[in-house]
Symmetry: C2
DNA sequence: ACATTAATGATAGTAATACTATTATTTAAA
DNA sequence: TTTAAATAATAGTATTACTATCATTAATGT
C-alpha cells in the first residue's frame, strides 16, 4: 500500500493551496531547502524564484509573504508531528512509556514515513528548531491568532497535556509543561549545537542530550 | 547617594559606545520605545532617525545594523539582571530562598533602581520577552558567538546554575535547567499574554502565573 | 585663545527587498 | 473545442539597508 500523506493546513495561511499543484509543492520543497541554507532572515521570494527557475510573482500567488510561507511549513510540521504521535502512541497503555515516546519524538529527527513526503525532513527539523518561534514572536500575533492558524501547535500541546494529566492527575500545569518541553526541546538542541555552555551537553551524549534532559525534567516534576 | 548605573557591553557589539555620548544614549532610549511599538521586524534605522530628529547615518556610526542594536539592548538587560541578582542574593544563605528570588526576578518586571536608568524598563521587559531569542536564532550564530557577545547571557546562566547546584548537588543538568527556566520565563509570559491555550493561566493568576509554574517546575525537579 | 580632532547633520546615492500590475502563453476543465 | 485558470515574463514602485561626502558644530590639547 502506497499511502500519500498530506495534511490540510488552515486556508488562512495561504492564498492558493500549495499541496494542490506541482508548482505549489515545488515552492514548499525548495523553501525548506533554501530557508535551511540561508536562514529565514536572508531568505527571499526572489532567491527562491531563481532557485526554482520561476518568477517571483508566481510565489506571491501562493503566499502573501515569507512569514506566511514559514507559518505554512511550521504548521505542516506540527500536523505531521501530531500524526506521528497518534501513530506511535497507538496501543500503548503505560502512560510513562507514552510520555517517553513523546519526548523522543520531540527531541529527535522525525522518522521518515515511507511513501509520500518529498520534503527534506532533516532540513525541516533544523528549520523548526531555529525558526519556528519566529512565527508567533511578532507584533501582529493577536491579529494572526484570530484566524486560528496556530491551531496545529495548540492541538499538539493539548494532546501532550492529556498524556501528562493521565500520568499524574494532580499536576496543575499540563499545558504549560507541554509547551515548555516543546520549546525546550528546540532550545536545548540549538544550544547544544551552537552555544553549548548554556547546556550540560557532553561530546558523548550530544545527540541524546536534549532527550535525556527533558525526560529527567518531566519525570522529576511529575514524579 | 546618587549612583549612576552603567554596564560595559562587549565592544564587538557596537561601532561607537552609545553610553559615552548623548546621541548614543538617545539612540538606545528611543530604540527601546520604538522596538516596543513596532516590533523588531518593522523597526528600522530610518524610522528611529525620524523619531529622534537625527540622520540615519548617525545611527549607523554606532551600530552596524539593527540586529547589533538589539543585541546591545539585550546584552545590557542581561548585565542589569546579573547586577540585580547579585544585589538581591546578597546575604541570603538559604538556597531555596535564593532560587525563589531568582525565579521572581526572571518572571517579573525588573524593579526600577532609583538613580540612573532613563530606559523604559516596562518596554525593555517586553522586548526581552518577545525579541531576545532573535539575537541568537540566526544563521550566523557561530560567527557572532566567536566575539563573545553572548557572554552576559552565559554568565547569568552559569550564576543561576551555581545556585541550582548548591541547592541540589546531585542534579545533573544545572546549566540546561538554568537556560530552560530563563527561556520558559519568557515563553510562558508571552503565551499567557497572547496564546493562553498554550498555558494553564487563569484570569486570577495572570501576573503571577509564569512565576508559579516555574517555581513548581524547579522544585519539582530539584526536590 | 587657537588649532586640531572628533562627532554630528544634511544630503545623496546604490543595491536589494517586498511587493503590485500587466500581458502573453500554456494548461486544465467544461 | 471553447473557456477559464494558472503560469511565465517583464516592468515598475516604495521601502530597506546600507555607504559616501562634505559642511558644521562641539570637544580637547597646548
Amino acid at each position: 500500500m502506497d499511502i500519500k500523506i498530506s495534511f490540510k493546513v488552515n486556508e488562512a495561511v495561504f492564498l492558493r493551496d500549495p499541496e494542490k499543484s506541482d508548482l505549489g509543492r515545488t515552492i514548499i520543497k525548495n523553501s525548506i531547502d533554501l530557508i535551511n541554507n540561508l536562514g529565514f532572515e536572508a531568505f527571499t521570494f526572489k532567491k527562491l524564484a531563481i532557485e526554482m527557475g520561476t518568477a517571483e510573482a508566481s510565489i506571491y500567488r501562493y503566499f502573501e509573504n515569507k512569514h506566511r510561507l514559514l507559518l505554512y511549513i511550521i504548521s505542516w510540521y506540527w500536523k505531521y508531528m501530531d500524526f506521528l504521535l497518534d501513530f506511535q502512541l497507538q496501543n500503548l497503555t503505560d502512560q510513562k512509556i507514552k510520555l517517553k515516546t513523546i519526548i523522543r519524538l520531540l527531541t529527535h529527527e522525525l522518522p521518515i514515513h515511507t511513501g509520500g513526503l518529498d520534503y527534506n525532513i532533516k532540513f525541516l527539523n533544523q528549520i523548526v528548531i531555529t525558526e519556528s518561534s519566529k512565527v508567533y514572536l511578532v507584533k501582529e500575533v493577536n491579529e494572526i491568532n484570530k484566524s486560528e492558524v496556530f491551531k496545529p501547535y495548540k492541538e499538539l500541546c493539548a494532546k501532550i497535556a492529556t498524556v501528562i494529566t493521565a500520568y499524574n492527575k494532580k499536576y496543575a500545569y499540563p499545558k504549560s509543561l507541554s509547551s515548555t518541553i516543546i520549546e525546550a526541546a528546540h532550545h536545548q538542541q540549538f544550544f547544544s549545537q551552537h552555544l553549548p555552555r548554556l547546556t550540560d551537553v557532553t561530546p558523548k551524549n550530544k545527540n541524546e542530550f536534549a532527550c535525556l534532559f527533558i525526560e529527567n525534567l518531566v519525570f522529576g516534576v511529575l514524579g
